[in-house]
């Protein structure tokens, strides 16, 4: 049944789609590997003399704009944000699936929250943070990243826990295990793949969050999604495009690598999140 001609067409379409959809990253990567002089004379996708000079230049300007500081901020806030989201959503999802508590209001609330533009809450949260001293702190940013991720994580857990066989938990109950023990020693190990998949997805979403990073931080806690644009204005006059390109690649690399390695889990979570939500 396989027609070689149609197959070739499919491959061509696939290659074209990969090239076009990933074009921003490809073109930025190419620019980041050109010298500043070459960037000015050669805007094509060919590199005449590849160099890592721009990457060295990024790290050399750490006294004014510290890329490692921004990357660390993103890492810390994203980790806390994703882990906290899971810590809050996991027991709640269990309670909804097994005790029926909150299923009629908490789950719909979380699902619908994903459809509400978060800018609505941004201003009062800014004012609240100002009052309690959470502005420009990694923990303050992490709390918001947790808020951003809770709906998706809750939906993923609620559907996966409901699918777990009840018998194992019942056996645990008969053996005298309380709910907390069951949760930690029985339900959590059975949900490890969902935990892993939602952690990765939550981490990527956290890393890529921009609006709250922009509003709630000024320097100490600025994530790299916001800090990257600082390098565009780094040299007074014109933009140093090589440096800017290198910064963008460095900022994009962590989620990109995670995405490549864990595409299966991410794809499944995204699909489940969309369909179950």
């Amino acid at each position: 049944m396989r027609k070689p001609f149609v197959d070739t067409l499919r491959w061509l379409a696939f290659i074209a789609a990969v090239a076009i959809l990933n074009f921003p990253v490809i073109a930025t990567l190419v620019t980041s590997l050109k010298s500043e002089a070459e960037i000015m004379t050669n805007a094509s996708l060919m590199i005449e003399a590849p160099t890592l000079g721009n990457y060295a230049a990024v790290f050399a300007m750490a006294d004014r704009f510290d890329i490692l500081h921004f990357l660390t901020n993103s890492l810390v806030a994203s980790l806390i944000g994703s882990v906290l989201a899971i810590a809050l959503a996991f027991p709640a999802a269990y309670a909804m699936a097994r005790f029926g508590v909150g299923r009629t209001w908490l789950l719909p609330l979380a699902v619908n929250l994903r459809a509400v533009p978060l800018i609505i809450f941004a201003i009062p949260i800014y004012l609240m943070y100002q009052q309690v001293g959470l502005l420009d702190t990694r923990f303050g940013l992490a709390l918001i990243l947790c808020l951003v991720n809770v709906p998706l994580v809750l939906v993923l857990f609620a559907s996966s826990i409901a699918d777990l066989p009840l018998e194992i938990e019942e056996a645990g109950r008969v053996d005298g295990a309380g709910t907390l023990r069951l949760l930690v020693y029985v339900v959590a190990p059975m949900s490890l793949n969902v935990v892993a998949a939602s952690t990765v997805l939550a981490f990527i979403y956290s890393w890529n969050e921009f609006l709250f990073g922009l509003m709630l931080t000024t320097n100490s806690a600025t994530p790299v999604s916001v800090g990257a644009s600082f390098f565009f204005a780094a040299s007074g006059g014109g933009v140093r495009w090589g440096v800017a390109a290198a910064v963008m690649i460095l900022a994009t690399l962590p989620p990109l690598v995670l995405g490549l390695l864990m595409y299966r889990q991410i794809g499944r979570s995204m699909t489940a999140g969309a369909v179950k939500g």
């Binding site: 094509s44 709640a92 800018i119 609505i120 941004a122 201003i123 509003m215 963008m248 969309a274």
Partner: protein, 289 residues
């Protein structure tokens, strides 16, 4: 349900509930109060109630309506293109994915990049001297438009958003297409359906729920667009690219009009409730089928 496990259940959802009250409930109350007050940074703890004048101000602001219209138009156009392109790719490339599932990873990559960074990348790529796109357009056609100028900004932004998020439509629609049982197709093939007819009469109706969900998710995400818009054009292009999110951000941070900003937020919230109500109504009606 025994009383103890109900109690335990409440205990288990308590942390999440408390968290949501603190970071959603409380801000919402603040939104409501400030939206009917005269308030500035100097009297942030003692707002002075003034009724609905902030709402009136927002509703009378032509820029508010321009932003609402931009978001609506942007969301609808982008969602339609993404669903059509994603559906086409999902179906056409399905045989490749069936044999080599990892191929889809390369098409999912754009979703891993922060939209804010994508916006920044296009500042480089579309730059008239150092950008690759103007370079090749000049090479091939001898000319290129002002991508971020008044006439082209909307098209540029639609393209940017579409290229980044078509993979999402592709992913959801591919998994829905791959889930169609081969038996169904075989039965239809025995009845003489093939090619386009098989697709239109069998595949498409079966994929309709997934298509609807994808459309709504893409519409909602594009309607509230902020990141790439902000980093690529900012308030530029003569204000012709101000989305609702950008409007609220500017009212607060640039103009410092807290009352106007939160009133606009509440109107946006009301609008999202309307959208949600429509979506829930549509999905509820589909359920019994």
């Amino acid at each position: 349900m025994p009383r103890t496990s109900r109690f335990e259940g409440r205990l288990l959802i308590a942390p999440l509930t408390a968290f949501l009250i603190a970071l959603l409930g409380f801000p919402l109350v603040l939104d409501l109060i400030y939206s009917i007050s005269r308030v500035g940074f100097e009297n942030i703890r003692t707002p002075e109630l003034v009724g609905f004048s902030n709402y009136a101000k927002a509703m009378a602001d032509p820029e508010f309506w321009a932003a609402a219209w931009f978001s609506l138009r942007f969301g609808l156009i982008v969602a339609v293109i993404q669903v059509v392109a994603g559906l086409g790719l999902a179906v056409f490339l399905a045989p490749l994915f069936a044999r080599r599932p990892w191929l889809i990873a390369l098409l999912m990559l754009p979703m891993m990049v922060a939209p804010a960074l994508v916006g920044l990348m296009y500042r480089l790529i579309l730059h008239e001297f150092v950008g690759a796109v103007p370079y090749y357009l000049l090479e091939w056609y001898g000319d290129f438009p002002a991508f971020l100028g008044r006439d082209w900004a909307f098209t540029t932004l639609v393209t940017v958003e579409t290229l980044q998020w078509t993979p999402f439509a592709l992913l959801i629609l591919h998994s829905s297409y791959a889930a169609i049982s081969p038996d169904v197709r075989e039965a239809a093939a025995l009845d003489g359906a093939r090619g386009r007819r098989l697709f239109l009469n069998i595949d498409l109706p079966l994929m309709l729920p997934a298509i609807g969900i994808t459309f709504f998710i893409r519409f909602i995400d594009s309607f509230r667009v902020f990141d790439n818009l902000y980093t690529l054009v900012g308030p530029g292009a003569g204000g012709s690219t101000t989305s609702m999110s950008i409007y609220i951000y500017q009212a607060f941070f640039k103009v410092g009009d807290i009352g106007l900003a939160v009133a606009a937020s509440m109107l946006l919230l009301a609008a999202s409730f309307v959208v949600l109500w429509v979506i829930n109504g549509l999905t509820a009606r589909k359920a019994p089928l």
